[in-house]
């Protein structure tokens, strides 16, 4: 555990190494990346195991920056939460590294891709290990850059450029919130260390309003990263990046960082009811809002993107409802099955030569014997079908919400679950069943490097749930909250009917999708024809992007133009004025110099006269 700090260094090494020698290695770069991430995976597992054994959390720090008397430290900490995260991140990262070997095959910037992956993994692991807010923020930003670079990997595509820029800027908006929040906290507590902050919160040395304020500011940061409403629009666009990236960053790890942050600072939130409420409401709203958009998308990756947004909303909802364990649990399961879904989608896209529109797909079940079933597993998991991982975690969340008494939010969550089940199976049926709706060319299954990781994730998508179930015990939960009351209980008891409701709802969703897209006994436009406006609104994602373009972007431009006006007329004008006055003086002076001797004499005489006049008027001396 003392060597946990090594874990992020392996990927960093791969980053540097590939930057320097990648050009020579070409595709060989893959091995460097894979091996190094494997190393960090191994270490993380070791750490996790040790962590299981020894309850006490470990922390090591050194002074990083001295400001007068203030000393800012940097170091690393291992506790239950980040031990778990370490494994999730390094595992998914490792799998994605392997997968990409096949997926990115033949790209002339292959090595760059792996370098970027390394950078991102390094940042993400570092983020997880951070013992204080400052360090968190630092890696938080680095993660953002990693994602920025990978989204913009196809730099020559203007869409990619736009998407990358958008992602960076929108997340940065959130980051500023985080920055302000943590600085305010710093001046309250006098330190960025989590434990000291929590101690201060415990001791009640921070005013309630300040807690609420800082908590919400930090949450804004989380909103930005986790693509929560209203800062969610970047995440779907981020699908411009290569699909493995979507799996790694925009499903499993970085977007989960927001949830992780809230979880990591949970005691702070717990201390403020308002903050909790905000988190819960935003979460719930995002969940249903994104799910509803997912209903009408036709791009395979975008559907998944919106479902990610909605699932993250779920997690936020859980945390906001004091369901710490539920949130983290869902974070874990979601990481697995969503990564699986993305990789599977990736393999579909790979097989169809980068076709992404599901309207053009169909009947791939036969052609992709391995991808199909794996995709189905993922779909079942996310839809919360019993015995799949998603089922347990989602169930935990619902219970937590109910137990916390947010009945309205509970209903929203249930509806969201219904939507989820519906659009996921809509996706599944449209892609894999029926007939191909367009010539697909020759389609064959992806190479092993791509399928193997999917298999691993498939297994996890199924079994991951059993670490924390109402039936076989909830040791994940118990372990997570061990020795820290502030996080709440390992398992919240809830009425049994919730589980049944959840199951029914998801099944209903599946059934509806079945009718519409498989049996076709229910016309596809049954709903759309009835409510065309609603449909177009949903299809256009509630026109959020358009709204932003009209408001924020336009406002910025106009401010700039106004300032330019000032620049031209005030600043420059002032300068010109002064210069003009001087030269005018010069002109009049030289005109007075008219070459007439007598004028000169007259000037002297007038000067004398004026002096004498003043002298006479002042009756003598001014001094």
């Amino acid at each position: 555990m003392e060597n946990a700090w090594l874990i992020p260094l392996f990927p960093l090494l791969s980053f540097v190494f590939l930057l320097l020698f990648g050009r020579k290695l070409k595709e060989g770069s893959a091995y460097a990346g894979i091996l190094l991430t494997l190393a960090s995976l191994v270490f993380s597992v070791i750490v996790l195991v040790e962590r299981m054994a020894a309850p006490a959390s470990y922390k090591a720090e050194a002074v990083w920056l001295k400001i007068g008397e203030l000393e800012l430290t940097a170091g690393f900490e291992v506790n239950q939460l980040n031990a778990l995260m370490l494994v999730i991140v390094s595992l998914v990262s490792f799998l994605v590294h392997t997968y990409s070997k096949g997926y990115m095959h033949g790209d002339d910037r292959f090595h760059v891709f792996y370098a970027y992956l390394g950078l991102f993994t390094f940042a993400m692991l570092g983020l997880v290990l951070s013992p204080n807010l400052l360090q968190t923020y630092i890696f938080w930003e680095l993660v953002g850059v990693g994602s920025f670079l990978l989204i913009g990997f196809y730099y020559f595509k203007n869409e990619a450029r736009a998407a990358a820029k958008k992602a960076f800027i929108m997340t940065r908006i959130g980051d500023v919130g985080l920055l302000i929040g943590m600085i305010l906290l710093f001046w309250q507590v006098g330190s960025f260390e989590y434990d000291e902050i929590f101690a201060a919160v415990e001791a009640g040395s921070i005013s309630g309003t300040m807690i609420t304020l800082t908590a919400i500011l930090i949450f804004i940061g989380a909103v930005g990263k986790s693509g929560q409403f209203p800062l969610h629009t970047w995440l779907p666009d981020a699908m411009e990046g290569p699909t493995p990236v979507s799996a790694l960053i925009h499903a499993a790890t970085m977007v989960a960082a927001g949830v992780y942050l809230v979880a990591a600072t949970f005691p702070l939130f717990a201390a403020s009811e308002t903050a909790m409420m905000t988190v819960a409401i935003i979460g719930a709203f995002t969940a249903i809002f994104a799910a509803s958009i997912g209903l009408a998308q036709t791009n395979i990756k975008r559907v998944l993107a919106y479902s990610t947004v909605s699932q993250l909303g779920y997690m936020m909802l859980a945390l906001g409802s004091a369901g710490y364990v539920a949130g983290v649990f869902h974070l874990m399961t979601h990481a697995f099955f969503k990564a699986l879904l993305f990789l599977a989608a990736g393999s579909v896209i790979h097989a169809l030569h980068h076709k992404q529109n599901i309207e053009e797909m169909g009947g791939l079940w036969k052609k992709l014997p391995l991808t199909g079933p794996l995709f189905l597993m993922g779909t079942l998991a996310i839809s919360g079908v019993p015995l799949f991982s998603g089922f347990f975690s989602k169930d935990e969340i619902l219970i937590a919400v109910w137990a916390h008494g947010n009945y309205f939010l509970f209903i929203l969550a249930v509806i969201a679950a219904f939507f989820t089940a519906f659009y996921m199976f809509r996706l599944f049926f449209m892609v894999f069943t029926g007939e191909a709706r367009s010539p697909l060319g020759n389609v064959q299954e992806s190479p092993a490097t791509m399928t193997m990781p999917m298999v691993v994730l498939g297994v996890l998508a199924v079994v991951a749930g059993y670490v924390n179930t109402p039936w076989f015990g909830t040791f994940l939960g118990d372990w997570l909250v061990e020795g820290n009351e502030a996080l709440g209980h390992g398992h919240i008891e809830g009425p049994a009917w919730i589980m049944i409701v959840a199951t029914l709802v998801s099944l209903a969703g599946i059934f509806l999708a079945y009718l519409m897209y498989y049996k076709k006994s229910l016309a596809r436009d049954w709903f759309t024809s009835r409510a065309p406006i609603t449909y177009s609104i949903v299809r256009n994602k509630y026109f959020i992007d358009e709204f932003y373009n009209l408001s924020v972007v336009y406002a910025t431009r106009s401010v700039s133009l106004f300032l330019r006006f000032i620049e031209l007329f005030l600043v420059e004008g002032l300068m010109k004025l002064v210069a003009g006055v001087v030269s005018l003086l010069g002109k009049s002076g030289s005109r007075f110099q008219n070459g007439q001797i007598q004028t000169y004499g007259m000037a002297a005489f007038l000067g004398l006269a004026v002096l004498l006049l003043i002298f006479a008027l002042t009756g003598g001396y001014i001094g």
Partner: protein, 104 residues
């Protein structure tokens, strides 16, 4: 004789000076300008002599000074006329307001 008050002399000098100044600054003919300047200098002489006779502390130096002034004034005018002649040779004019090729 001494019934004439000092102020009268001073006033005379002042008036003479002003006339001279006026002439020097307004006349077109350079010769007249030079003459006006002579007037101004003579006003000075009157002052000096007056003071040396009727001043609070009469002293001969005033008159000495006056003599110097007269001498110098003569020299000055001589030079002035000489330059004017040179000018006249080249420009065929003594009108002071035409001597303005250099300006601004």
């Amino acid at each position: 004789m001494s019934s004439v008050p000092i102020t009268a002399f001073l006033a005379l000098a002042l008036i003479l000076f002003c006339i001279g100044l006026y002439g020097a600054l307004t006349k077109r003919n350079t010769i007249i300008v030079l003459i006006s300047i002579e007037l101004m200098l003579n006003a000075v002489n009157i002052n000096l002599v007056t003071f040396s006779k009727y001043g609070m502390t009469p002293a001969i130096t005033g008159q000495v000074f006056a003599v110097f002034v007269i001498a110098v004034a003569a020299a000055e005018v001589a030079v002035g006329i000489a330059i004017l002649l040179a000018l006249y040779r080249n420009r065929r004019t003594v009108n002071i307001d035409e001597i303005n090729t250099m300006k601004h």
